[in-house]
Symmetry: D3
Subunit: 242 residues, 6 copies
């Protein structure tokens, strides 16, 4: 885990150092790197960092350091902030009525760009920590937002957050059921089909594969999930999960 990665040069350095240590120790499998983005420069160089070395296993970001580096005006670690909102126009019928407003996600750009940078080179994007341990609902909302955008996990600062992460970073049983239905109806992933009023083709079929493969992988390790997803228990030989 390399903290405060700011550009490809940080990865090149670690890459060479590890190559020397591996050669010395006679290692056969390369040591992988997990990058933590903690500065605005790191975000500005995201794509170059991701492609700096095949050692990159994944990335996550440190929302507190990143916020400080950007001078974002928040003391929170991840999550939204009540001050970042859009507001509805005044009601012309009743111009003095309170106007609805909508809280926005300050991390959308950062997470979306990190997901693209990672997945375009086959690395795994992770969300980072959520600082307010007492706010489990806020934590769950943040974790799920990152899951939807493509992250595969998060850091946990407290046992309560581990339970949240388990719940969030596994797909919803209803979506898994729907995905299985699509895959069963289109075994070879070809053609255009209508299923439950939604058009399905080779692209949605790939989405369903992402969903079901993840569910299968998790189900092999967690009997409760296996049941929730409706997978039969199978005896799995050791080491078979990817």
């Amino acid at each position: 885990m390399i903290p405060k990665v700011e550009g490809p040069w940080d990865i090149h350095y670690a890459d060479r150092l590890l190559a020397q240590l591996e050669a010395k120790a006679g290692l056969q499998r390369p040591i992988l790197l997990h990058c933590v983005l903690e500065t605005s420069q790191g975000v500005a160089n995201l794509e170059e960092i991701a492609s700096a070395s095949p050692r990159i296993q994944g990335m996550s970001f440190g929302p507190a350091d990143l916020a400080a580096s950007r001078r974002m005006k928040t003391t929170r670690v991840g999550g939204g902030h009540p001050g970042y909102r859009t507001i509805a126009d005044p009601d012309p019928e009743n111009p003095d009525a309170p106007r609805p407003s909508y809280q926005q996600d300050p991390w959308h750009y950062s997470i979306a760009r990190m997901v693209d940078a990672c997945t375009s080179v086959g690395a795994l994007p992770f969300y980072g920590p959520y600082g307010d341990i007492s706010d489990e609902e806020g934590c769950e909302t943040q974790f799920r937002a990152s899951f939807l955008l493509g992250c595969v996990g998060a850091w946990s600062l407290h046992p309560a957050q581990i339970a949240i992460a388990k719940r969030v970073y596994s797909p919803d049983p209803d979506e898994v059921a729907f995905a299985k239905k699509v895959i069963e109806a289109i075994p070879d992933g070809r053609g255009v089909h209508m299923i439950d009023g939604k058009m399905q083709d080779d692209a949605t079929w790939k989405q369903c594969q992402v969903m079901v493969k993840l569910a299968e992988m998790l189900a092999r390790k967690d009997p409760e999930l296996a049941e929730a997803y409706g997978f039969e228990r199978t005896v799995e030989p050791a080491g078979a999960a990817a």
Copy 2:
């Protein structure tokens, strides 16, 4: 239409192949290219793709392929997802009350960056398909979001969506009326003016031009819109529309 464009190399290849075919066929007008972005790598290379060739007529994206490439955890084709939200802080007066939450747009970054890449080279950005044919309101919301951000159209998977696209990708008559008012008040686009309590200058004048020019172009083809926008019927010689 080139699917799965991932980098400028894909455009260079098509560019050369077309040049040879055009030369063989003795064509005078160049064949143009429409790129479909379907992978995270394509988004990471957006600006380079847009400037890879003057043949680029426009771009759109395939939200299902793109979601699968990013491992976004959704089986929907475009649109929002109930799981991507921000949440309000607990009410200190009433900490156990349900907290309001706000659904977010998972496509904001992707669309905004594509619009910039396209318009910076004079190409046209399009939204892609909306998969849930039965959800006309969802489709309209997605189409309008892309319209606001700069897209000029979308794909239609069903006749019902054509009607939605017609409605959405034409500007609102009230905004057109306001834009006409600004242009009439500032014929040469110079100076700073107050109109309906809003400051208008050369920049807002350009916004109004975008609005009115689009309205005029659409009105020439659609008598209903012409009436809605208050344009008088004019006899237009064939081939005059841009």
Copy 3:
């Protein structure tokens, strides 16, 4: 202030011209540049613009010009637009009920990327103008959104907006109080601590420093803020503020 910056070449040109004028005039301190982004090409080249010269003091963007360049379908100068929304799924219990929808921030990507480009080179990001002078609540919402994302100020088109800017671009007294508490509890910024149920470490400590330093700087110039933040009045020698 250089308007319509589109790429590093615009900065290089101004840089050289100023160098010649400075040499002619015998100036010792370099003249700085403030860039205004007003086109999609400028946004596509943000990072290169920011690092084109050490003269870059800061950036802001012109939302009206930028919207026109992108063909965003709005005649508003900054702020949200009622047409950019996400919508909730239909309620399965009551499919005909009106579905809640949530207005989105059309400027998220643009502001977030500008903040990164600026802060990665030590320059200051500013929001630009808000056009609807009569809508003070809308102005305040837009200014605060940019403040949260990292901007340090905005343009004012009217005295009423100056008051809003003063209120918005100074941190909330509650957050300042919390930040002071953290800094007092962790004088050296080391270790991991629980304060009010939230984990604090070197990263959150930096966030608190951003907050308190800004508050101190503002308090030195504004007795009301000094009182709100609970800073004792100190006699400050002229020129001490950074």
Copy 4:
């Protein structure tokens, strides 16, 4: 003529300044630029300078400045230096005999790379000045070397050098006669032919075209050359030469 060009930034600056002046003066034809390379950095950036603007008409180099910048140990302006030589191996039969040595061209790399950079963008490479006015034979040798490598002219510091330049930068009548023979034998430039024991094809045909076109252009302005090349006198309308 821009002296001491070191990188594309110098060209960008001149380009913009001229564009403004041209606009002010209402000029229709663009003012062109001739770059003088006088530093090692300029040579290191040659290709980027050549493609920095379509205004680049040509380049030449200042051998004295360039030598000083490189710390070449010569006080001569252009030409060879007796100290830059290769030496033959000792004669094994007669190891104490003086060994032949061969003076080398210290400017080969610089001229060859400048010719490539220029001709790859359609600009004209020129040699620069030859400083030793009293050494006409040395001047002629240097000018001819540059002519052979692709330069189209040089600077003259003295009337005697103008006569040399005229003589050198016009092709040898024998080579022109041979080139005419090839072109007459292969009117369409196709196929492989043996002429005077040398293979001729589309490539050598192009070389002959370079030679004959240059001879024709010069002959139109110089009756002596016209006679030497065996071109009949033709009445040429004013302004016909390229």
Copy 5:
């Protein structure tokens, strides 16, 4: 063999086309590419061309096309030109005596840069054709010059040139004998040794390996060379040569 390669785009195009044809034909071994440089732009882009694809087997250049593209003033295909010379200073004792002059190699830069570009990616540099078939001595001189600089072969336009190429592109028996002596004296390539008054170390040992390996490879196919190099005849199984 791809003629007139000017930049990496030419290689990318051929690369993709071949990939499609290979897939169609079910080929297992990739089709390799040999690039012919025939323009100044190709030389300016040499390093990028060499690293454009792992298909690059080697390069050669077309001296006639290249000369025409550079407007070099020669109608010869390869070889030197009597006009490209350096000249000695006048003899101060006898200033009117004829001054020695030395013919230079107009191709030095082009060949040397091509050799670097090729060998830095593991591709093979070849000289191209020598046009004057009747001048065997000139052909041999040109071929040997390219051999010394690193080329591994040339094109032959006539049977007489094949014999020359065989003679030139095999190392000199005396140098091979010396190289064998070095390798025998330093079996493991380590340490510093004096052999025949010349310092030998790991670097010269590598030079000797280049020499001996090439001699061995050629000797396996040519009994005369085997004898000249003093290699014993060995029975070689079919297909064993690299």
Copy 6:
């Protein structure tokens, strides 16, 4: 001294490692780097290597390793090779007469490009070793060639070569005398002057400065040179030489 530098990544790595060691040891002056180019890839990346870090003090090249990497067909370490020649055309009067031929410098491109890369960033170019210790004349020829092209020194493999280096890498007294004459005649380096029949201006004045400054620096350390250059003995305080 870093051997086998192939690209900027090698310098970045050493740069970071040294920064850590310096910080650990509390060093105030940065440790500098001398790069040895020993592969064709290193030459292809010369300019990027030179500008990779301000630690670059200078460069030299290893002609034996470089030759092996390029597969140059020589077992010599530096110097020319009898096989790299140009040849004169046959004498038409006497076609069977032996044709003069001229040995060429195989290292011209490599040295010239290294000199440019170094001097454009203020680093010092050095020639490397000359392997044939018994051939003092060959060594002197090679050293002087590099001196003329801009190198400031070489490696010595034997005490005899130290004497050669001393003699070669100090400028010729005649050229120093001429340079002093120019500087005395043009104290401020301005204007155009004729001195000994050669034009002198600000550019040749700079050449003379290079020559005289080097002579002065050497003379301070070597009484014999001081006398040869005609500098009066001056008492120099310790440490005054740059």
